[in-house]
């Protein structure tokens, strides 16, 4: 079994290195095939491990030592337990499909080989993240996915920077840097959490930390919880570190699916779930997490309402769904959060890959106002995106219904009615913007020029590859009870109260009602095509939403620009005119002193005698003074 752990973990790395050897040569289909095959191997290994964990129990392996100094010893160790094996199976399954999909999607791209190298490296980093048995190992994966996302978001690095009016993300390379730097801000928080754990518990191994965290002072646990959550906020793009996520849409679409659905953004949720013994001790922080999550849920959904960019809409919906996950995890329902995480991964990657099909068909057009009527030519993609949107909206009996509804029940059960209410409203918004997007893309009449695009369905094998995702998006909800039994052997079993049980059907009814209303409303507005409302589009709330609450511009004005000018000031004024000028000034004084005293050297003997007499007198005076002073002291 140990070998399987290593196969699951390292197969993607082998694929990445293999593809890297072809990185600078022209497209070679072998890189796509080999990396996809190795990903599949990794998936099979994960699935076998899943079965093993279910029937036998967790596996813990220790590969070798990594860092040691003082009393610190950090190994490369990997734990395959209920939580990590769930993540592994989900990540490798989705990644395999995305790899196969990319063979078609990147067919004509010059960087084909390079792309697969990055993609597999990303999966490897993610596996390190979920499989590590200690916080620093997690941090390797944490930073690793950060770098890979930098590489992948900036994949089309050759594009120039443009203004925000033309492209709100400015350019792929700009978006890549933004993502990396924002994540680094959060990573500092995470590092501080790691430092706190190390100096107070003397170890970073999960099992040892969780076993000994209990007796720690509450204040300390509080800070550990907060700092780790700051780390989670960056990776999971929670407010106020959320702007990179929508800009990350600059990457090729399979990347968006990989980053947004299955992997990187869920890392933060994974961390909170993994650290549940810590968060259980500090319900206040948990509540804070739930509040942040709830806020992000509605905040992101509101931006999705008016956006015209197909991928950005899906990105905001990801953000919003992450909010749901944090709400559940913050309220202590860890397994519910994990369940929504997995279900979301299935339908969201399906949605993204469907969006990729549309983009390809439309020659990289992303503006849904310029689409319409695509269902005639893209039946399968329409079906896939329709199903994914239905499950995202939480319609019975699809997977999203079960996972989202349980989160709402948890909020109700915890008597946090405010959270429940906002998440309930958000469910309606979600249904609306999802179907606004579906209707504008696929229904109504054609709004694009025939000269611009000849939409066509994608390759058959790509469509077939998506079947597992579509199936899981539909049926995964049926596995909820199995999932609960399985994960709660490790995670705390969250039980609803009697009361909640009794009114559960009512909650389901109101939630479904608002979701269906959202869809109906979307149909009424957009079902027959686009009817533009200039007045609405020019109103202030609409503009605020479509400009992302002006937050990117605010960040630019408050952070980026002042930092740049302060940096310039530090260099040109402080460093050059003050610090260095002082140094040169001292040098100048010494030089001029030398220059001036040089005049004593006249070569005239009587001048020298005079100086000698003066010097002798001075010495006597000093000696006298010193004598007096020492006498005074005695």
């Amino acid at each position: 079994m140990e070998n399987l752990v290593y196969i699951a973990l390292f197969a993607p790395l082998v694929g990445s290195i293999f593809a890297a050897f072809y990185g600078m040569s022209p497209k070679n289909i072998i890189t796509g095939i080999v990396t996809s095959a190795l990903l599949f191997v990794s998936f099979v290994a994960s699935a076998i491990l899943l079965n093993h964990v279910m029937t036998v129990g967790p596996i813990h392996v220790r590969m070798m030592d990594w860092i040691m100094a003082g009393d610190m010893l950090i190994p490369f160790g990997f734990i395959v337990d209920q939580v990590s094996v769930t993540m592994m199976t989900m990540v490798t399954l989705i990644s395999t499909i995305i790899h196969i999909y990319s063979n078609g999607y990147m067919e004509h791209d010059k960087g084909f080989n390079r792309f697969f190298s990055y993609l597999s490296l990303f999966v490897f980093s993610m596996l390190i993240l979920v499989m590590s048995d200690n916080f620093l190992g997690l941090f390797i994966g944490w930073e690793g996915v950060g770098v890979c996302s930098w590489l992948l978001i900036g994949f089309w690095y050759h594009k120039p920077d443009v203004t925000r009016d033309i492209n709100p993300s400015i350019s792929p390379s700009w978006a890549a840097n933004e993502a990396f730097i924002m994540n680094r801000i959060a990573d500092l928080g995470m590092l501080v959490g790691i430092f706190l754990i190390y100096w107070n518990l003397g170890t970073l191994q999960y099992d040892e930390v969780f076993a000994s965290v209990g007796p720690l002072e509450n204040d300390l646990v509080f800070w550990i919880g907060i700092t780790l959550f700051i780390g989670a906020m960056g990776k999971s793009a929670q407010f106020p570190l959320h702007t990179w996520l929508a800009d990350a849409m600059e990457g090729p679409t399979p990347v968006s699916a990989l980053i947004h659905a299955a992997t990187m953004v869920t890392a933060g949720v994974y961390l909170v779930i993994r650290a549940n013994p810590i968060y259980d001790l500090i319900p206040d922080v948990g509540y804070l997490i739930a509040v942040v999550g709830t806020f992000v849920a509605i905040f992101a959904a509101s931006m999705a309402l008016v956006n015209r960019d197909l991928k950005r809409i899906i990105a905001y919906s990801t953000l919003s769904q992450l909010g749901y996950m944090f709400a559940a995890a913050g309220l202590g329902a860890y397994w519910v959060a994990l369940f929504h995480l997995v279900a979301h991964a299935f339908f969201k990657s399906l949605l993204f890959l469907g969006a990729g099909n549309v983009m390809h068909a439309m020659n990289d057009q992303l503006d849904i106002f310029k689409m319409g009527g695509l269902k005639k030519v893209m039946r399968w993609t329409y079906l896939y995106m329709g199903v994914a949107s239905l499950t995202l909206a939480g319609i019975w009996p699809l997977a999203g219904f079960f996972s989202k509804d349980t989160i709402l029940e948890v909020a109700f059960n915890e008597h946090t009615y405010g959270i429940w209410f906002i998440l309930w409203i958000t469910a309606g918004l979600t249904a609306f913007y999802s179907f606004r997007q579906v209707f504008l893309t696929f229904h109504g009449t054609q709004r694009y020029d025939d000269a611009d695009a000849h939409p066509h369905e994608v390759q058959k094998y790509v469509l077939i590859a998506l079947i597992p995702l579509a199936t899981l998006a539909v049926i995964f909800g049926g596995f909820m009870d199995t999932f609960k039994t399985f994960t709660t052997t490790l995670l705390p079993a969250y039980e609803m109260s009697e009361h909640t049980h009794h009114i559960a059907w009512m909650l389901i009814a109101v939630t479904s009602a608002i979701a269906i209303s959202g869809i109906i409303f979307a149909y009424l507005r957009y079902g027959k095509g686009l009817k533009r409302n200039e007045k609405l589009e020019n109103s202030l709330p609409y503009r605020v939403l479509s400009n992302q609450y002006y937050i990117p511009i605010l960040y630019d004005k408050v952070f980026s620009k002042p930092y740049a000018s302060l940096s310039k000031f530090s260099w040109q004024v402080v460093d050059q005119r003050i610090v260095d000028a002082t140094v040169d000034g001292i040098g100048g004084i010494i030089k001029s002193t030398g220059d001036n005293t040089r005049r004593m050297q006249t070569g005239n003997l009587s001048d020298y005698l005079k100086w000698m007499a003066a010097g002798a007198l001075l010495l006597v005076a000093i000696a006298f003074l010193a004598f007096k002073l020492t006498q005074g002291a005695n």
Binding site: M68, A69, G70, I194, L196, T582
Partner: protein
């Protein structure tokens, strides 16, 4: 091989002198051969080194001026061993990558003499010998900058020389005073550092001596506000000069803190953690900002060096094995990474004769190999886990966290600000469309450049994944150092701050 250290020190000297007899056309091969032998000798030293022994090894002691206790006294421990190997490696790499035709013979001989001085500094255990090598190292560098530098080379060379020289004089006074105190306590003269270690000084004396040594080391590091010679030196020095300067010469300062300040003045070192740490913080944050404002690629790397040296100082003054081991490892990793980055800047300068970022853009598509290696070094520079840069930075910060969480959080901004200026540099140089016609036909890295760079890439990844063979010997010596400091310290604050680690480890 009892004399291996003497061979290491004097082989380049002899080879350098013989170099005058070598024909101009074969001097490059000669230089590479000598530097390779020297590097292999240093690796051999590592083989012979007993990693479980934390103390000084390969001790050689020949009295020179017995009346004053001055002797030729050399040895290595885990702390100096790897810095020596890095010095021989970077000299070799620097000579391989040499791209200068003018007076190449003099340049190579100068580099060999510089190597003598560098290794001399790191093996000396006699203060006078140490001081001689320390000052002697200035001369070859003065010559390298002054003779092969850019337009303002004379100004830069003189500034470099006078500034560091002035600092060293204050340190020399400190050394003489320690010897004087030693004489008045024991009745005998000695300049042996190991003798000085045993000297327990009253805090009042320690205090002044600490600052005297501090000035000498701080200018060399260079610490804020003594850093302004560095951008000029780097700006004017030829590539090989910058590589050696950043990789090895700066480390003399931080090494000095570990070798002299900590064990000799443990109480003062602890008492002045705060002022030193605040200077280090200014180095980290302020110089990172200055780096961000630069137009010239080489200046970004130069200022980033200062910023990273700040983290090294923080780690050194953590007063626990985690931090000090981390700071020594960071000296090595910074040496490798900044050396490589200066080589990379040199490569593009050789092609375009400019280092201004605005002249470039889109290089990733023209020079993919160059972009790849640059990218790896960039990631090592910003401290990505599994590269060499993470280990030292992480340990230094973790160590200092014990002293002051707040200051550590501020120092930790290094990981953000470092990413800001390095990624901006990378974006401006490598990303975007190729707009400048002069860049459209640039040659990618050639065989010579790859020979110099690929080994560094390999080290960056190897020691990022498996730093154990290097960390354990360093850590063993550092633990001996901290327990010695703890033993020796007499103020309660120092006793409480200096942590003794009980764990012992072996390289298997």
């Amino acid at each position: 091989m009892e004399n291996i250290l003497s061979i290491l020190v004097f082989f380049p000297l002899v080879a350098g002198l013989l170099g005058f007899l070598v024909d101009k056309n074969s001097i490059r091969v000669y230089g590479i051969a000598v530097a390779s032998i020297e590097f292999i000798l240093s690796l051999w030293l590592w083989m012979l080194f007993d990693t479980s022994n934390a103390g000084f090894q390969f001790v050689e002691m020949i009295p020179l001026v017995p009346d004053f206790g001055i002797s030729y006294y050399v040895a290595v421990d885990g702390i100096s061993l790897f810095i020596i190997i890095m010095a021989t490696l970077m000299t070799l790499i620097g000579i391989i990558a040499l791209n200068i035709e003018k007076n190449i013979k003099n340049l190579i001989i100068t580099l060999l003499f510089l190597e003598v001085a560098m290794i001399g500094v790191f093996v000396s255990l006699d203060a006078i010998i140490f001081y001689l090598f320390w000052e002697f190292s200035l001369v070859p560098m003065l010559y390298i900058i002054g003779a092969w530098g850019g337009e303002r080379r004379i100004y830069a060379a003189v500034k470099f020389f006078l500034y560091t020289f002035a600092g060293s004089l204050i340190m020399l006074i400190g050394m003489l005073y320690v010897a004087y105190v030693y004489h008045s306590v024991s009745g005998a003269w000695s300049f042996a550092i190991t003798d000085w270690y045993a000297l327990v000084l009253p805090f009042e004396v320690e205090k002044y001596l600490f600052w005297a040594f501090f000035i000498g080391f701080a200018i060399k590091v260079p610490m804020f506000p003594f850093h302004t010679w560095l951008p000029y030196a780097h700006g004017q020095a030829p590539t090989v000069g910058s590589v050696i300067l950043a990789a090895v010469l700066l480390k003399m300062g931080t090494y000095g803190f570990v070798r002299f300040s900590l064990p000799m003045f443990p109480d003062a070192s602890v008492a002045y953690i705060m002022p030193v740490a605040i200077l280090a913080l200014i180095m980290i944050i302020y110089t990172a900002m200055v780096a961000y404002a630069q137009e010239d690629m080489k200046q970004v790397i130069a200022y980033s060096s200062v910023s990273h040296m700040g983290v090294i100082i923080i780690g050194t003054f953590a007063m626990n094995a985690e931090g000090i081991t981390g700071s020594i490892f960071l000296m090595l990793s910074h040496g490798i990474v900044s050396g490589a980055l200066f080589l990379l800047v040199g490569s593009i300068y050789d092609r375009r004769h400019t280092k201004l970022m605005s002249e470039f853009g889109g290089l990733a598509s023209v020079m993919p190999k160059y972009a790849l290696i640059y990218g790896i070094m960039l990631m090592a520079s910003v401290g990505l886990p599994l590269t060499i840069g993470f280990v030292g930075e992480y340990l230094s910060l973790v160590g200092f966290f014990k002293v002051s969480p707040t200051l550590t959080v501020l120092a930790g901004t290094s990981i953000i600000l470092g990413a800001v200026y390095m990624l901006t540099l990378y974006k401006r140089t490598f990303f975007g469309p190729v707009t400048n016609d002069a860049n459209k036909k640039l040659m990618d890295l050639d065989g010579k450049e790859l020979t110099a760079l690929v080994p560094l890439v390999a080290i960056v990844i190897w020691l990022g994944i498996y730093p154990k063979p290097v960390l354990v010997p360093i850590d063993n010596s550092v633990k001996a150092l901290t327990s010695f400091m703890h033993e020796k310290a007499h103020t309660p604050k120092a006793k409480a701050t200096i942590l003794v680690s009980k764990t012992t480890r072996e390289v298997k």
